[in-house]
């Protein structure tokens, strides 16, 4: 409560000094003028905006019902000691669960694994996806076939694909394990992580490629022709013309994939079940929440994952601001 009181009090005090120094009459018009300068809305524009809100309303309502409620409920649960095995001990304990989780070595190991998987897979997917996108964009003959073939991994259910990877790496029966002298890579940490990442990359590179291809379509043909006559090699055309123009599409693709990768679950669940310290944060939350029946700790982990994802999204959205090609945001600020 005391934390909350301070800023409010400060605000009031600042308001009062402002009023005292400029006089009430001066302060009010100034404030109004400021608001008008920000949004000079005509009657027409305002009606349009109202219509916009109305059109959003049904979707917003559904969102509130199906996402806001669970989120708030998780937050509420995370503030309690609540283990279904000991329901009698349920009690409000404030932020104690957060302290428990954030000082726990398993959490940080899982966090490290998640971060590693996120960074490595997204980086490799970006490169491979760009290559695939360029190929799909360029091919003139058999475009449909090339695109379909490239998209097949993305169309397969993750769990099914994960099982096929697991069997492939199982010593004795798996074709890939046999290639490597019948070793059992899924029983060791490093090789397990590598296989998890491989499965992730194989599965989602097509999605990346699809998003990037949409970006490639944004690059005007004339721009590339101009660069050619200006003396650019194909590599220079790619780095100096295509990439800057595509930047918004690349950021969107990266955002989607980073958020997805950070929540990695099904591949790990099937391939290692989190053994040998290969758990991701989602895996850990699942283990505590569903298997351990510890609603308090599990919810705390879920909330932490939510916060991490929100931070990632926020950072990317900040980057978008100046990413639109030709915008002079950089100069105006």
């Amino acid at each position: 409560m005391s934390i909350n009181a301070t800023p409010t009090g400060a605000d009031v005090a600042a308001d009062e000094t402002a009023t005292r120094s400029t006089g009430r009459h001066a302060a009010v018009p100034a404030q109004r003028a400021g608001r008008r300068a920000k949004a000079p809305l005509s009657e027409n524009k305002r009606a349009e905006r109202r219509l916009g809100w109305l059109l959003c309303a049904p979707a917003a309502l559904v969102m509130v019902l199906v996402t806001a409620y669970p989120i708030l409920y998780s937050v509420w649960l995370s503030l309690q000691r609540f283990d279904l095995r000991f329901p009698d001990q349920r009690e409000f304990i404030g932020l104690d669960n957060y302290v428990t989780v954030l000082t726990n070595q398993f959490w940080w190991t899982a966090f490290g694994v998640t971060a590693l998987i996120t960074v490595v897979t997204v980086a490799i997917e970006l490169v491979l996806g760009m290559g695939l996108a360029l190929i799909m964009h360029r091919t003139l003959v058999g475009r449909g076939i090339v695109r379909t073939a490239a998209l097949i991994p993305y169309g397969i259910v993750t769990v099914v694909a994960a099982f096929s990877w697991r069997y492939a790496w199982t010593p004795g029966t798996g074709y890939l394990a046999n290639v490597f002298d019948g070793s059992a890579p899924l029983t060791e940490r490093a090789s397990s992580l590598a296989i998890i990442m491989l499965a992730e990359i194989w599965k989602t590179t097509p999605f990346m490629a699809l998003l990037l291809m949409a970006g490639l379509a944004l690059v005007p043909e004339d721009l590339l022709k101009a660069a050619s006559t200006d003396g650019a090699t194909s590599w220079q055309r790619f780095t100096k013309v295509m990439l800057p123009v595509m930047k918004p599409a690349i950021l969107v693709a990266l955002l989607f994939r980073t958020l997805d990768a950070f929540r990695v679950f099904d591949n790990i669940f099937v391939l290692t079940a989190g053994g040998n310290e290969t758990s991701s944060v989602s895996m850990l939350a699942y283990n505590n929440l569903i298997r351990g029946l510890n609603l308090g700790i599990g919810s705390t982990m879920s909330v932490l994952i939510f916060i991490a994802v929100a931070i990632i999204a926020f950072v990317f959205v900040k980057l978008f601001g100046t990413a639109a090609p030709g915008s002079d945001d950089g100069e105006r600020r």
Binding site: L140, P220, D222, L223, K225, A226, A227, S228, T229, D230, G231, A232, T233, Q236, K240, V241, P244, V245, K247, P325, G326, S327, D328, E331
Partner: protein, 402 residues
């Protein structure tokens, strides 16, 4: 600077479209050549082949005497200006103009000096730090020009560079382009849709149709001595009037009356396989109000009466539209021209006659007026081949020539 030679150059796209067919063209060093023709006739394709942006299917392209068919665009040392300007959106004006120089690995000081120089010529100096998105159409166009001139290439290729500007700006930029080209003396190939640009800018004009060159020559020559129906109808605004003409007993029966023909023409149309139907072409300025003609002039022409449809007074002269009876002139070329210009702009083959009379004429709408036209200036075309029959050793001689 260099000359450009196209030797039987053709382009066939993978889908079988033949966009350019056996184009022969010699562009001298420092010459300003205009490519015109209706939409889809292969102008851009020709330009792209010269730039190296499209492969040449057959034939040879030589720049400065050297075969460049297989050279990449970056090795041809040619600058191109696009209709869309194609400015790099992420770079400032300065960076846009410096881009080709940076790629050529010039040192910083030289680059800055050259960019500043070009910016001064094109009055872009105050805009150097802006992004293209914050420029007007005319300014973007000038930046595109600037990017082309900074590196002093062997040739400029321009693909409808002024088409996206409004009419007033286009006139202004036309003089800029013309002055710039004269100053720099760089070989230039310029594609346009615009009559005025074609007539005023270039040393020579190349008229294309369906991938083939129809005629090459100085603008005035194309205007006065069109080799065929297509060229005659394409050049000139308002366009040439075309009338149906039936050959009978050494005379031409037309909606304007019977036209006598000279010996040379008679010999041409008396052969066994000669066409019995011709198309008579006459430009609007070769008509005159019969009241304003002296006897001497009157003898060189013919007169007819027709109802006046519309009078448009331009101050210096009057455009008068007459309705004439009789069969319409029909030929594939005329239909194509009408389709390209939009039927409203191409009145040439309609039943209405466009004339340009002097301002003193007292002509009024609705009346019947007597009009004279100059027989020395009429052209006769064979409707099946489009050939201009009045052309003798490259000069149009009119109907009466012996």
């Amino acid at each position: 600077m260099a000359d450009i030679v196209l030797d039987k150059v053709s382009k066939k796209f993978p889908d079988g479209t033949v966009a350019v067919q056996d184009v022969d063209l010699e562009i001298a060093d420092g010459e300003f050549v205009i490519l015109v023709g209706p939409s889809g006739c292969g102008k851009s394709t020709t330009l792209n082949m010269i730039a190296g942006l499209e492969d040449i299917s057959s034939g040879e392209l030589r720049i400065a005497g050297q075969r460049v068919n297989d050279k990449a665009p970056r090795d041809r040392d040619i600058a191109m200006v696009f209709q869309s300007y194609a400015l790099y959106p992420n770079m400032t004006v300065r960076e846009n103009m410096a881009f080709p120089l940076r790629l050529a690995k010039l040192d910083r000081a030289t680059i800055d000096a050259k960019v500043d120089e070009a910016a001064k010529v094109l009055e872009l100096t105050p805009l150097l730090d802006r992004k293209p998105a914050n420029l007007s159409g005319g300014q973007r166009q000038r930046v595109a020009m600037g990017r082309a001139i900074v590196r002093q290439p062997k040739a400029f290729l321009m693909d409808e560079p002024l088409s996206n500007l409004d009419a007033k700006l286009r006139v202004q930029m036309r003089t800029v382009v013309s002055r710039l080209q004269k100053q720099l003396g760089t070989t230039t190939v310029y594609v346009t849709h615009d009559q005025t640009e074609a007539m005023t800018l270039g040393d020579r004009v190349v008229i294309m149709r369906g991938g083939a060159v129809q005629q090459v020559g100085p603008p005035q020559e194309l205007y006065d001595h069109p080799r065929n129906l297509f060229v005659a109808g394409f050049i000139g605004s308002p366009s040439m009037n075309f009338l149906h003409a039936a050959v009978s007993e050494g005379r031409l029966r037309t909606a304007l009356g019977d036209v006598a023909i000279g010996d040379r023409l008679r010999r041409q149309i008396e052969g066994a396989d000669a066409p019995r139907e011709l198309i008579l072409g006459i430009r609007p300025e070769h008509f005159e109000d019969a009241e304003l003609i002296d006897e001497e002039t009157r003898r060189r022409g013919m007169e007819f009466d027709a109802p006046v449809d519309i009078v448009e007074s331009m101050g210096s002269d009057k455009y008068v539209y007459f309705t004439v009876e009789g069969e319409r002139a029909t030929a594939a070329e005329l239909e194509e021209l009408a389709a390209d210009a939009g039927a409203a702009d191409f009145a040439g083959a309609g039943s209405s006659l466009v004339t340009r009379l002097s301002a003193e004429s007292a002509v009024r709408e609705g009346e019947n007026r007597r009009v004279w036209f100059n027989l020395d200036k009429i052209h006769l075309f064979d409707p099946s081949t489009g050939r201009n029959l009045t052309l003798h050793e490259g000069r149009a001689a009119g109907a009466l020539a012996d």
